[in-house]
């Protein structure tokens, strides 16, 4: 079947492409993944606070996917306010990824850390899980930044809240909007 030099070149090219894909993919076992950043949390000069909440789901529980009902925390708090070490250039997204790893909270994002990360789901609650206008968004010091979480650089003492909204942020901003 493979008789000519051209054949061998084609086969080698296919093998090379496959090898490049496999070598660029980073495989980790579950334990390796969750242990990765555990030691970064302690001893740092600058710190930030992060919490993850889904109280709005409790108010709109009739819209929630039926198979998720058992997963809703009773007080709507997935992670109470926790202090985290802040490294230079850390964005809101970096902190969330580290938090999710340390606390073994399931999380899925698209876009990557470079600039435009989009958080699709945290703790099995995904976008559109609770009505058509639902999804994850974040507040820093009570304000709602208009940039992606991967582009928002934090400074010492910032308070991050990841909140689940059921009405494209309208329901979570009511408290914040009154201050403006």
């Amino acid at each position: 079947m493979f008789k000519k030099r051209k054949d061998i070149i084609i086969i080698l090219a296919f093998v090379m492409i496959a090898a490049i894909f496999i070598l660029n993919t980073d495989f980790k076992s579950v334990d390796e993944y969750y242990l990765e950043h555990a030691q970064d949390v302690e001893n740092a000069d600058a710190t930030v606070f992060i919490s993850i909440k889904c109280e709005t789901i409790l108010e709109n529980i009739e819209d929630l996917d039926r198979n998720l009902i058992l997963l809703v925390p009773k007080d709507g708090i997935i992670l109470p306010q926790t202090e985290y070490a802040l490294r230079d250039g850390d964005s809101v997204f970096d902190i969330l990824v580290r938090t999710a790893k340390t606390h073994k909270i399931q999380m899925e994002y698209s876009g990557g850390a470079s600039s435009s990360a989009y958080i699709e789901g945290i703790a099995h609650f995904y976008e559109f899980s609770c009505g058509e206008l639902s999804g994850w968004t974040y507040l820093v010091n009570g304000e709602h930044p208009s940039v992606s979480s991967a582009s928002y650089e934090l400074s010492d003492g910032d308070v991050i809240e990841w909140v689940y909204t059921c009405e494209v942020s309208r329901d979570i901003l009511q408290g914040g909007a009154a201050n403006e």
Partner: protein, 296 residues
């Protein structure tokens, strides 16, 4: 009429109802029990109506398709509560793997049902069904269902002609790849031209000008009524089961338990027998034939 297939001898209306019910139920469920029944029924019927070579060719086609579809889902879907390992920091979960297998089974079942549909419903049956109500749709349907076997045949014809010209001789992999590409391009050119020719020919013969009557040799007999009744009863039971949520099944974030209460078992039994009907007719006819021959 297709003499090799017993099931094809029924009236088009009964057959159409049967295939419509099977397709709709298979496409709108995630329940692995129902999909398994559908897949088993469709593949048994396909095996019973094919020669041994065709069966091997089918296995060579459907098994890789099944594997590719079931591997694709866990690569792109990272939902699910049980991570197996992490790939580029994204979890590959047990739930996504099983959901992929489920989707692959569903797609293979749907493809096999469509294949059985095109085997059983020839163009004259489709014309008899829709010829009066939607003449254009029925011609388009019957023509497009014919395309894949037609192209397969034409592909082989062109390839044979090119073999006679001396291509495909070296047995080299890259050269046979190039030659196949050339055959394919010839096939596409022919297909486009053929489509235009067919359309011209159809309108030249005055299809759809009105006042044209068609004759069909199909009579609605007792056994057609029986098949229709069985289909209606079994699919109503299945439909009620669907509406009561007995067929519900979710993969994310946790795999739900398969319902095993009495109503669900009735649903499974109804759908299982519905999906096995064509195969049962084939087996019954084959046994009958053997019995008659043994008496000679």
């Amino acid at each position: 009429m297709n003499d090799r297939i017993t099931f094809a001898n029924f009236h088009p209306v009964s057959l159409f109802f049967y295939f419509a019910a099977m397709l709709v139920f298979t496409m709108f469920t995630q329940n692995p029990v129902l999909i398994l029944f559908s897949l088993v029924g469709a593949s048994l019927f396909s095996a019973a109506t094919s020669t041994r070579e065709q069966i091997f060719a089918d296995i060579k086609f459907y098994v890789p398709v099944f594997i590719v579809i079931s591997l694709t889902n866990p690569i792109f879907s990272h939902s699910g509560a049980t991570p197996l390992f992490f790939m580029n920091d994204n979890p590959v979960t047990l739930e996504a793997v099983l959901c992929g297998v489920d989707i692959a089974a569903m797609i293979s079942a749907v493809m096999l049902i469509c294949k059985a549909f095109s085997k059983v419903m020839e163009s004259e049956k489709l014309l008899c069904l829709f010829g009066k109500a939607a003449p254009k749709l029925s011609v388009v349907l019957s023509m497009s269902l014919r395309f894949i076997p037609l192209f397969k045949r034409k592909f082989k014809e062109i390839k044979d002609a090119q073999k006679a010209l001396g291509y495909f001789k070296s047995g080299s992999f890259s050269e046979s790849l190039m030659s196949n590409a050339r055959v394919f391009s010839a096939l596409v050119t022919w297909a486009l031209e053929n489509g235009a020719d067919t359309a011209d020919s159809i309108s030249a013969r005055g299809y759809d000008v009105g006042g044209r009557k068609s004759f069909a040799l199909f009579r609605f007999k007792k056994r057609d009524a029986i098949l229709m009744t069985i289909t209606l009863v079994l699919s109503s039971v299945t439909l009620v089961g669907f509406l009561l949520g007995k067929a519900d099944f979710e993969f994310y974030p946790y795999i739900t338990q398969i319902n095993t209460d009495a109503l669900s078992v009735i649903l499974y039994a109804a759908f299982g027998s519905l999906s096995l009907i064509p195969f049962i007719f084939e087996v019954k006819e084959a046994l009958h034939w053997k019995y008659l021959r043994s008496k000679i």
